[in-house]
Amino acid sequence: MAYSDKVVDHFNNPRNMGSFKKDEEGVGTGMVGAPECGDVMKLQIKVQNDTIVDAKFKTFGCGSAIASSSLATEWLKGKTIEEAQKIKNTDIVQELNLPPVKIHCSVLAEDAIKAALADYQKKADTK
């Protein structure tokens, strides 16, 4: 299977790879997937005044999974919480030219975004 140039680019030069401290002020963490399924994504956002000022990811998975999460962090930065909620897996599929067998990678990335936002919200609410 040939990969699209964009997938290869994200794979070779992942954007925003790394981690924030989970208990850091304004950080929301989403971890989705399972090792036995062959992919696990950890996506983190750092929020200030309702805006995502930074995002980071770590992914165990195929090239398309890595590219999907790398792209997600790029898109998240600068977005408000509300805008971030609107990122759809189909946008990722389109941007990265993912073939049908790799669509689940984009679904996972959307799930990771949602999970990170939910975690941030939960932490903000309990404060």
Binding site: S19, G38, C62
Partner: protein, 405 residues
């Protein structure tokens, strides 16, 4: 050194130039049909085929009359299993095979079961991928007509105790088929000593052409009979109709002759290179696990799981090295390797496996390059892996509640 490097010799192998040279006259100049008995074109083709038959038989210590040409090992497996089950159906319908066989054997047995033409036992293997001969003995019933166990596994290279299984088969009067596709030409094979009655193998795994294989069918002690699976001109003593692909057969013969002459030195050379590859990787990478048997394995095989990184991404990071992985993402079925699963390798480690298959034309320089690349990419992907991060923080990954999807 030329890139990309081919380290996927279990899937196929490049042809040896000496094989191509032997084949060339049989396309244009000596193009006859080996079944044409009445003119020089046919005689020349027939002579070439019979010569190849001898070269092939010699490599496996058989008689040339025991070689039946097919299109490849998949057809040979089908012909052996379906042919025996059909021929001996009065005697019984039970076949014993193993859970790590090639799909050409497992799916053939399953197809026969689905049609109600056979019942099958799929024996488990130990954690090194080996079939226990005593399990074979215990699985035998009064309906068993065939035992089919592979010589060496295509993913992990584990070599089965074929001789012991052959002995049990003989003792019980049951036919023994062996898929030896990965072993012939790579390790010594002796159908007499191993007690094999039917054996599948092909040319393209041993530096010969694609599209031709053989089924060894024992002629005496016992004389094995199989029902043809293709109707036609009655070629190959009625067992496999169809005009013989003379150039391919000539190439197959030459490839076997070269293996016969060079096996002893080549296997030592490849094993040394493979051991160096293994040591070079293991020295630098922690939590890299060897899949298969440490010693009872093919000299050119190496299968390693790299914990916390996924196989397809490893392959993607080494795109100038041709390798294969047991990861679901690289398989047509989207399931991780059933062979590794049968060994009891965890699903997550099956996803993380890489198979290296060395061959005649690999060089030390290529191995050095591969060691360097593997270390680089595993290190890079582990830095990217949330699992590696958690493991380093002391989290027991097995205790985590994952949301399977």
């Amino acid at each position: 050194m030329k890139l990309p490097i081919f380290l996927d010799n279990h899937s196929t192998s490049p042809m040896d130039p000496r094989v191509l040279e032997a084949m060339l006259p049989y396309f244009i100049e000596k193009f006859g049909n080996a079944a044409s008995r009445n003119h020089a074109f046919g005689w020349a083709a027939e002579e070439a085929v019979e010569n190849a038959r001898k070269q092939i038989a010699k490599l496996i210590k058989a008689d040339s009359k025991e070689i039946v040409f097919t299109s490849g090992a998949t057809e040979s497996d089908n012909l052996a299993i379906k042919g025996v089950l059909e021929m001996y159906k009065e005697k019984g319908d039970h076949i014993i095979t193993s859970s790590t066989e090639h799909r050409a054997v497992i799916d053939t047995a399953k197809a026969l079961e689905a049609k109600g033409k056979a019942t099958a036992t799929y024996l488990p293997v130990d954690k090194f991928g080996m079939v226990n001969p005593e399990d074979v003995r215990k699985a035998i019933t009064d309906k068993t007509v065939l035992i089919s166990v592979m010589l060496a596994n295509n993913e992990i290279g584990t070599i089965n105790p074929v001789k012991e299984i052959g002995k049990i088969a003989k003792e019980k009067g049951i036919l023994f088929h062996c898929d030896a596709t990965q072993g012939v030409g790579k390790i010594p094979v002796d159908v007499q000593d191993m007690g094999i009655d039917l054996m599948s193998f092909s040319a393209h795994k041993i530096y010969g052409p694609k599209g031709v294989g053989a089924l060894y069918v024992r002629k005496k002690n016992p004389r094995v009979r199989i029902a043809a699976q293709m109707d036609g001109g009655g070629h190959e003593r009625g067992m496999r109709s169809g005009t013989l692909p003379v150039p391919l057969i000539v190439g197959f013969g030459k490839a076997c002759e070269l293996c016969e002459q060079e096996l002893a030195t080549e296997s030592v050379r490849l094993a040394a290179m493979r051991d160096r590859l293994q040591a070079g990787i293991m020295k630098e990478i922690d939590e890299a696990y060897l899949n298969g048997h440490a010693t009872q394995r093919l000299p050119h095989n190496l299968n390693i799981s790299f914990a916390y990184v996924e196989g397809e991404s490893l392959l993607m990071g080494m795109k100038d090295i041709a390798l294969s992985s047991g990861s679901a993402c690289t398989s047509a079925t989207l399931e991780p390797s059933y062979v590794l699963r049968a060994l009891g390798v965890g699903v997550e480690l099956a996803h993380s496996s890489i198979r290296f298959g060395l061959g005649r034309f690999n060089t030390d320089e290529e191995i050095d390059y591969t060691i360097k690349k593997v270390i680089e990419i595993v290190t890079k992907l582990r830095e990217m892996s949330p699992l590696y991060e958690m493991a380093k923080e002391g989290v027991d990954l097995k205790s985590v509640q994952w949301a399977a999807h």
